[in-house]
């Protein structure tokens, strides 16, 4: 008896097989090694998933790519098997992600390198933050200790703050979307903020993962408003922190960096009151000294002038005294007169002239007996 097997046309067979596959494996998860990873026209993704003995072709779109992928990585895919009318058997992939710490770390490293190459972490991009700020955007979980610590420190240090709080998930699958949305919302507030602060406390690498997601990092880099980011503890560096304008080591540290300590400022102001006064005093004192110096100089100048005049006067007095005819007579000289004229030269006289001799104590009248020239001539 001939067994009855159905006879299909090829297209029929393909359709039938696909129906069966859809029924049996509407959606299947497979773990294996990534190979031959290729992106075509920036839209279509092709790769193989394999193990030591088998290999299956995979196909998808770029929109399903959540992580950086690299040949050799262990990945888990979710997809549907299908027999393509032309290209044979393949899996249409809806999701693919690296699995195992090695692969996950590798993907993170690749993302970091990619973003670094694009310049998102460049120091030159980093802007300075208004100090102290007044309007602060805050992205955090309002129930977290990070939020409580931050608020405690910032309210203690400084008043005069307008805080705009975006309460979001800071871990889990919802977190990246909420954080990115919060960044956008805060950037679009009508009252322009001075700074956006993003904080979350310590946790495992998985807990902090949201802040190394590409969408979040790009949102931080794209923020028009300067960002201060503190994720986890001192040693945790999430990629969002690298893209931020200022990285704080912890949420508490963020509060310390953002605003001054009003107590310290008050002390500084108090000290400067004294400084101002002392500076004024010393200027006045210095000027007083200067005035005194000028006064002394003036005094000295005048005294000197006086002395000079006095000396000159004295000299003249002495001279005058010496030239006084009376004084000359005292010394024994005699004044000679003839006809009431003073005679200075004996050569003006002749023999028998009558002359008057004035001594200090008397006047003599006498006649010339003889004239003898000093130079010996007759």
């Amino acid at each position: 008896m001939a067994r009855e097997t159905p006879v299909f046309g090829v297209t029929e067979f393909v359709a039938y097989t696909n129906q069966t596959l859809e029924y049996a494996y509407p959606y299947v998860s497979i773990v294996g090694e990534l190979a031959n990873f290729k992106i075509s026209k920036n839209k279509w993704v092709y790769f193989d998933i394999k193990d030591t003995e088998s290999r299956v072709r995979c196909f998808g779109t770029v929109y399903m790519l959540a992580s950086q992928l690299e040949d050799g990585m262990m990945v888990q895919i979710q997809g549907s098997p299908r027999l393509h009318p032309q290209f044979g058997f393949s899996l249409t992939v809806q999701q693919v992600q690296p699995v195992g710490e090695g692969a996950i770390n590798r993907a993170a490293k690749l993302l970091e390198q990619k973003l670094e190459k694009e310049g998102l972490f460049d120091v030159a991009r980093k802007r300075s933050v208004l100090y102290p700020p007044v309007k602060i955007g805050l992205i955090t979980s309002a129930e977290s200790a990070a939020y409580a610590d931050f608020m405690k420190i910032i309210s203690h240090r400084w008043g005069q703050l307008d805080i705009y709080l975006a309460d979001v998930q800071v871990q889990g699958s919802e977190a990246p979307g909420q954080v990115a949305a919060a960044l956008q919302a805060l950037n679009q507030l009508p009252h322009s903020l001075d700074v956006i602060v993003m904080i979350r406390g310590g946790g495992s690498a998985e807990d902090l993962q949201a802040f190394s997601e590409e969408s979040v990092v790009r949102a931080v880099a794209a923020s028009r408003i300067p960002t201060v980011v503190a994720i986890g503890h001192e040693n945790d560096v999430a990629l969002a922190e690298r893209a931020a304008d200022v990285r704080a080591s912890t949420p508490s540290n963020a509060a310390e960096l953002l605003v001054p300590d009003k107590q310290q400022v008050a002390q500084y102001l108090e000290k400067n009151k004294r400084t101002l006064y002392q500076a004024l005093e010393s200027v006045v004192e210095y000027k007083k000294q200067q005035v005194k110096v000028y006064k002394d100089k003036l005094h000295e100048s005048i005294s000197q002038l006086f002395r000079q005049h006095n000396n000159a006067l004295q000299q003249k007095q002495l001279l005058l005294h010496a030239l006084n005819p009376e004084v000359v007579l005292q010394r024994g000289y005699a004044l000679v007169r003839k006809d009431n004229q003073i005679i200075r030269s004996g050569l003006q006289l002749k023999k028998d002239d009558t002359i008057e001799l004035q001594f200090k104590d008397s006047i003599l009248m006498t006649n010339i007996i003889k004239i003898r020239r000093n130079d010996g001539k007759k």
């Binding site: 208004l130 102290p132 700020p133 008043g159 709080l165 500076a279």
Partner: protein, 62 residues
């Protein structure tokens, strides 16, 4: 609503300038008197600002 912060930065910067000038070597007595007065006023304004402890929290929807 917190006071406009441009005051604080401007006042603070101006105070630093005043302090530097009044302590410099080439300031006249008249200038020193004026600087002292300005400095005292600036400090008073800054102290007043510090006293205003208005921390306001607004929740925004994401």
């Amino acid at each position: 609503m917190a006071k406009n912060n441009i005051d604080y930065q401007k006042l603070s910067t101006r105070l630093d300038e005043v302090l530097a000038k009044i302590q410099s070597a080439d300031v006249s007595v008249d200038e020193a008197v004026a600087l002292h007065k300005e400095g005292v006023e600036l400090i008073a304004a800054l102290e007043e600002y510090l006293k205003g402890a208005e921390l306001k929290i607004n929740k925004i929807k994401v």
